[in-house]
C-alpha cells in the first residue's frame, strides 16, 4: 500500500445491517450502556464483601508524630484499621513506581502531599467506614511545603524525599535529546530569535468513573481476584506478582466496564493495594471506591511542564532551529508511566511537523509537595506538551515576523516526498501529506474570509470597546503512537508488544481475545470490524473479549493511543492467518489446488467457477469435522499472534479555532473549531469522530478552564468539580471535522490510532486564537475570564499558583 492509496469502502451490508468490514456502525457495547446495564467495578457485589475508606493527609508536608486508631477500631461495624505501621510489618509500606522510584502505600514517616493516604478503615458498610475515619486521631508536625516548581531546587528548599538515603535536594533527573552544538550554530546564524516562557499547567484526566477495586483473596485456593479500574490489566497482574511476591498464576485481574481512563487508570494506586491487603487481613472481599475529590487530589495528574523555548529563523520565515528547557514538576514521588528509556516520554518529538535541521531539549525533573503522576490525560507520552511548545513558538515567531501564521506554517511543513522522515531528535515519521491537511482545514474554515472579517472587526473595535475581539488560531500536530517496538520501549522491563487470539467456532462465529482494555473507545465494535474486514464475516459474529487476565493473552494495555496501532495490527494479522489456513482447508474440501482458489469477501472459491466455493462458516465447520486435513494443517480454525510494532505510527492533523473575546469582561467564546485529522484509514468513522469530539472538548477545557493550582501551603485548589472545571456542551462549538487519509506503510491495515490526537493538537489552536484576538505574543492558559483580562492588561498571572 502506498502513501496515497486509500482502500475503497466496502458497501456490502451484513444481515445485521452493519458494514462488512470498515464503515459506520452503531457500537455493539452501547446496547448495554444505554440501558444502564454496564457493569463497572462499583457494580461488583460479592457475598460478605466489606468496604474500605482511606484517611488522607490534610497537609502537603508534615511529619507524622502519632496515629491513634483505637476509637475507630472500637466502632461496632469496623473490622480492621490499617496504618503505615501495619504495612511496614508486611514490608508493604512502600511500593515501586513505574519510573524507578518508590511511593508510599500508607505514610510512615511523613506526608508529602495533601490527600496522601495515611490509614485505611475496613468496615461492614461504606457509611461506617467513612464515619470511622473521623475517629482516627493523627498528630502531624507541619513542615514548609515546596509548591512552586521554580523554587524546588533552591538551596534552602525543604528536602521532600528524606526517606531516600543520601538525598539532599529535590532534583530527580536531567535528560536531554538532540544536538546542542548544532542548535548553537543555527542560532548564531539566524536573523530572528524568539524566546518565550510557556507553562503547560497541571491538569487532571478526571474520568467519569473514579478509581476503585474489589479484592478477594480465596484462602482455600490461594487465588487473588481483583476487579479494578485499570487500562492495563496484564501489567497490573505482573506488578502485583513482583511487588507482593504473590504467584502470578494465582492472580486474576478483571477490568470490567471502565468509565473513561485518559491515562488516569494506568498506574497502581495505594487504594488498590489496600483493598488486597484488606482482603488478606480480614479474609473477606474488600471494596474500595474513591470519591471525586479523592480522584482529583491523589491520582495521576497530567502535564505540569514549565518550558522555556527559543526558536531561530531567517527573516523570510524559514525555521532554522528550536531548543527548549523544561522544568518538570513530578510531585512528591516520581510516578510517571513512561517507557523506561524515555523519562520525559516522547517529549523530544517537539520539533513537530516542520522541516529544520537543529533541535535540542533538556528536561529537569523535580520533586514538589504535590500528588504524583505525570503521564495521563490522553497526552501520548508527553506529546501534548511537545506540540503545545512548538505550536506556541511558531506563533511567537509569526508574531515577531508579522507574518500570517498559516503562511509561516505552510512555508515550513514537511513535504510529502520527505517521508519516511527522520527528525533531528531521531524519530522516523512513517507517512504524511501535511500541506494537504493544512490546505483542507483552511478551505473548510474559509481562512481568507475569516482574516478579512477579523480586520473589519478590529477597525470597528477601535472606536467601540464593546465590540468583541476576534481571534483565529492554528495548530498543526504530529503524533507518535502505538508503542513499542519492544526492543526500544518497555515498562518495568516488560516489552511493549501485545498478544491476540482469534478462534472461529464450528459454525463460523468468532471470538477475539485482546490484551488491551477499552475504557469507552469502542473496542468491542472496532476490533470486530477489523476481523470482519479481513475475514468477510459480519462484525456481529465476532465477540471481542478483553479485560480479564485469565481469559486473554498478555499485553501492555490501552494508553498512548496504542490499541489500534498495536492490538489492531495483532487482530488483523491473526485474521489473516485464519484466512490463510481457511484456504488450505477449503482446497482440501473442494478437492482442488490451493493456487486454484480465489478470495471474495468471506469466501474462497475455485477460479473460473464461482459457484464452487466455501464460505468461512463452511470452512470453519470443515475444520472441526472428520475431514482429513493435509499434512501440517491442524484441525480447528484459530490463530494467535504477538504483535511487535516495527515503529510508531504518526497520525497528524491541522486545526483552526475561531474565538470571540469580550475585552471588557475577558470572556472567551469559541465560535468555530475546524479539525482535519489524518489517522490513516478509518475503521469506524463514527467512532473516530466521537474520539475527536471528545479530544477537542478536552482542548477547549485545558485552554480555557482546567487547572489544578496550589496555594502557598500546598492546598490543592482543584479538589472538586466546582473547582476543577470541565467544559460542557455550552463551551463547545459544533465541531467541523475534515479528513485526509494517509495510511501507515508498516501497519497491516494502514491505521494509525486516533484516541489522543485531538487532545494533543487542540489546546494550542485555542490558545493561539485567544492570543491572536488579544494581539499579545504570549500568556499562559487557562484563559479564564480573569486570566484573559489580566493578560490584556499586560499583567498576566501564573496559572499554577493561587490567585491572590
Amino acid at each position: 500500500m502506498t502513501a496515497t492509496e486509500v482502500p475503497a469502502p466496502d458497501d456490502t451490508r451484513t444481515p445485521g445491517g452493519n458494514p462488512l468490514g470498515f464503515g459506520r456502525m452503531l457500537r455493539k457495547e452501547d446496547a448495554r450502556f444505554l440501558r444502564g446495564q454496564g457493569r463497572y467495578v462499583d457494580d461488583v457485589v460479592l457475598p460478605g464483601m466489606l468496604h474500605g475508606a482511606v484517611l488522607r493527609s490534610p497537609y502537603a508536608h508534615a511529619r507524622l508524630v502519632s496515629i491513634d486508631t483505637s476509637a475507630a477500631e472500637a466502632h461496632p461495624r469496623v473490622k480492621a484499621v490499617i496504618t503505615g505501621q501495619t504495612l511496614e510489618s508486611l514490608n508493604l509500606a512502600w511500593m515501586p513506581t513505574l519510573s524507578g522510584d518508590v511511593t508510599a502505600v500508607l505514610a510512615t514517616d511523613k506526608v508529602r502531599f495533601q490527600g496522601q493516604e495515611v490509614a485505611f478503615v475496613i468496615a461492614e458498610d461504606e457509611y461506617s467506614a467513612r464515619d470511622a475515619l473521623e475517629l482516627i486521631d493523627v498528630e502531624y508536625d507541619p513542615l514548609p511545603a515546596v509548591v512552586d516548581a521554580k523554587h524546588a531546587l533552591d538551596p534552602d528548599a525543604p528536602v521532600i524525599r528524606d526517606d531516600l538515603e543520601g538525598r539532599t535536594d529535590n532534583h530527580i533527573y536531567d535528560w536531554e535529546a538532540g544536538d546542542a552544538q548544532a542548535c548553537e550554530e543555527a542560532f548564531a546564524k539566524a536573523d530572528v530569535v524568539v524566546s518565550e516562557d510557556i507553562i503547560y499547567p497541571r491538569v487532571h484526566p478526571a474520568p467519569m468513573e473514579t478509581c476503585g477495586s474489589v479484592a478477594h483473596m480465596d484462602k482455600v485456593t490461594g487465588k487473588l481476584t481483583v476487579w479494578t479500574t485499570t487500562q492495563a490489566p496484564h501489567a497490573h497482574r505482573t506488578v502485583y506478582a513482583l511487588v507482593a511476591g504473590l504467584p502470578e498464576h494465582k492472580i486474576q485481574i478483571i477490568s470490567p466496564d471502565i468509565g473513561g481512563g485518559f491515562g488516569n487508570k494506568v498506574g497502581i494506586y495505594p487504594g488498590y493495594v489496600l483493598s488486597i491487603v484488606g482482603s488478606i487481613v480480614t479474609g473477606a472481599p474488600v471494596k474500595w471506591m474513591e470519591d471525586r475529590s479523592e480522584n482529583l487530589m491523589s491520582t495521576s495528574f497530567a502535564r505540569d511542564y514549565h518550558m522555556h523555548g527559543d526558536i531561530a529563523a531567517t527573516k523570510e520565515g524559514k525555521i532554522l532551529a528550536l531548543r527548549v528547557n523544561v522544568l518538570a514538576d513530578h510531585g512528591a514521588f516520581n510516578g510517571v508511566a513512561q517507557p523506561t528509556k524515555f523519562p520525559a516520554g516522547f517529549f523530544h518529538i517537539f520539533t513537530g511537523s516542520y522541516d529544520y535541521p537543529a533541535a535540542h531539549c533538556k528536561v529537569t525533573a523535580v520533586y514538589t509537595n504535590k500528588a504524583l503522576g505525570g503521564v495521563a490525560y490522553a497526552c501520548s507520552f508527553r506529546i501534548t506538551e511537545a506540540v503545545y511548545l512548538v505550536e506556541r513558538m511558531v506563533d511567537c515567531l509569526a508574531f515577531e515576523l508579522k507574518m500570517d501564521p498559516a503562511e509561516l506554517r505552510m512555508k515550513n511543513l514537511l513535504r510529502p516526498e520527505q517521508f519516511p522522515y527522520t527528525s533531528p531528535t531521531g524519530w522516523e515519521y512513517d507517512s504524511g501529506d501535511y500541506p494537504r491537511a493544512l490546505s483542507e482545514a483552511m478551505r473548510i474554515a474559509g481562512y481568507d474570509d475569516l482574516r478579512r472579517e477579523q480586520a473589519e472587526r478590529r477597525a470597528a473595535a477601535e472606536s467601540d470597546p464593546s465590540v468583541p475581539l476576534m481571534g483565529i488560531g492554528l495548530s498543526f500536530f504530529t503524533e507518535g503512537v502505538g508503542a513499542g517496538p519492544r526492543k526500544h520501549m518497555d515498562i518495568l522491563g516488560l516489552g511493549m508488544a501485545d498478544g491476540c487470539e482469534l478462534r472461529l467456532h464450528p459454525t463460523g462465529k468468532a471470538q477475539l481475545r485482546l490484551s488491551v482494555q477499552t475504557q469507552g473507545q469502542g473496542h468491542e465494535t472496532t476490533f470486530a470490524q477489523i476481523v470482519s474486514h479481513v475475514l468477510g464475516i459480519p462484525p456481529e459474529d465476532v465477540e471481542v473479549l478483553h479485560g480479564d487476565t485469565d481469559n486473554t493473552p498478555f499485553g501492555l494495555g490501552t494508553y498512548g493511543s496504542r490499541s489500534t496501532p498495536v492490538s489492531g495490527a495483532a487482530a488483523a494479522v491473526a485474521a489473516q492467518r485464519v484466512k490463510d489456513k481457511a484456504r488450505l482447508i477449503a482446497a482440501t474440501s473442494l478437492e482442488c489446488s490451493v493456487d486454484d482458489l480465489e478470495w471474495e469477501h468471506g469466501r474462497w472459491f475455485v477460479k473460473g467457477d464461482p459457484t464452487k466455493g466455501q464460505t468461512m462458516a463452511e470452512i470453519a465447520m470443515a475444520a472441526h469435522s472428520s475431514l482429513e486435513l493435509p499434512e501440517g494443517v491442524e484441525g480447528h480454525l484459530d490463530a494467535s499472534v504477538v504483535y511487535n510494532p516495527p515503529n510508531l505510527t504518526y497520525p497528524f492533523g491541522a486545526y483552526i479555532c475561531v474565538v470571540d473575546v469580550d475585552r471588557q469582561t475577558g470572556v472567551v467564546k469559541v465560535r468555530r473549531f475546524i479539525a482535519v485529522d489524518d489517522c490513516g484509514p478509518r475503521i469506524n468513522p463514527m467512532i473516530v469522530e466521537g474520539q475527536i469530539h471528545g479530544g477537542l472538548a478536552d482542548g477547549v477545557g485545558m485552554a480555557l478552564m482546567e487547572v489544578i493550582a496550589f496555594d502557598k501551603e500546598g492546598n490543592n485548589l482543584g479538589g472538586s468539580f466546582m473547582d476543577y472545571l470541565l467544559p460542557t456542551s455550552l463551551e463547545c462549538p459544533s465541531w467541523e471535522l475534515g479528513m485526509t487519509v494517509t495510511p501507515s506503510p508498516h501497519h497491516p491495515i494502514g491505521t494509525k490510532g486516533v484516541g489522543e490526537s485531538a487532545t494533543v493538537g487542540s489546546p494550542a489552536a485555542v490558545v493561539n486564537a485567544v492570543l491572536d484576538a488579544l494581539q499579545i505574543r504570549a500568556a499562559d492558559m487557562p484563559f479564564t475570564p480573569a486570566m484573559t483580562w489580566r493578560a490584556l492588561q499586560g499583567r498576566p498571572m501564573r496559572p499554577d499558583l493561587a490567585i491572590e
Binding site: 461504606e126 457509611y127 467513612r130 464515619d131 473521623e134 471506591m289 470519591d291 471525586r292 475529590s293 471588557q664 469582561t665 475577558g666 470572556v667 480555557l704 478552564m705 493550582a709 485548589l717 472538586s720 466546582m722 473547582d723 472545571l725 467544559p727 460542557t728 455550552l730 463551551e731 479564564t784 475570564p785 480573569a786 483580562w789 489580566r790 498571572m797 493561587a802 490567585i803 491572590e804
Partner: protein, 292 residues
Amino acid sequence: MQVPAPFEYERAASVDEAVALLARHGPEARLVAGGHSLLPMMKLRLARPEMLIDINDLSDLDYIRTEGDEIAIGAMTRHAGVLDSAVLAEHYRIFAEAERVIADPIVRNRGTVGGSLCQADPSEDLSAVFSALRGTAVIRSESGSRNVEMRQFHTGPYETAVGAAEMLVEVRLPIRPNSGSAYEKVERRAGDWSIAAAGAFVQLDGEGRIADLGIGLAAVGADHFTCEEAEDALRGGTPSEEAIARAAAICAEGCQPQADQRGPVDYKRHLVGVLVARALTRSAARARGEAA
C-alpha cells in the same frame, strides 16, 4: 462515595407541621427542599444537621401569581418554574436572565427559591435579584407570620433573619409600571458560581428620569447584595451613559470581593463596573420600551 454523617429524617405534610418539627427538634434541625446546596455540603461533612425535615410535599408553596399590585412567589417554587414564568417574564425580565445562568437544568428542576435564599450563599444569584427588586420575605413560625425586607434578610454569609423555628414561605415584589430589569453574570463555565454578577431594575417617570431603581450584586461581598450609594446617585436623574458609568464605578469601589481562583480583586471590581453598567443600560432601554 462521599457520604454524610448520620442524621435523622422527617417529612412534613404541611407548613404547620414543618414549623412544629423545627420547634421540636431545635437548632440542629434543617429544612431540606431541593437539597442541591445542602446535600453536597453534608456529603463533604461541611454541614452536619442532626435532623432533616423534608418539605418537598409542600406543593401549596409552589406558585408565582399576581395579587393586586404585587407578585407573590412561593418558597417551594423551583428554579425551572421561575425561568418559565409568564408572570415574571411580563414584569421582570431579570428573573429569566438570572435563572438561565443558575447551575444547570437538572439543578433548576429541583432547587427552590426558598432554599436558595435561605442557603444564603454569598454568590447566590437570586439573593442579588430579590435585593435589587427590594422584595419582602414572608416568614412563618408556630406563632404566626412576619415580614422582613429582602435587604434585611441576609445577615451574613450563610446566615439569614429566619430563626431556628421559622420557615420562609413566600417572597413578595411590587409591580412597577414603566420599568425594565436585567441580569448580567460572568462565570468561568456554564453552571459555575459567578465571578461577579449584577442585576438591576430601572423605573422611569413621564420625563424619562429615573423614578426608582435597584441594583443587586452577587459574589463580590456587597452589603446585603446591593449598593445603595450607587442607587442614590442615579435616582431622579436621567439614565445617561455618564450617569450609569458613575453609578457602576461606585458599585465597583463599594463592594468587597475576595481573591480566589475565579479572579483577583482588581479584576472582580472591574467586572462589577462593567456588569452594573450593562445591567442598568439594558434595564433603562427596556423601561423605555426599546427592544433587547
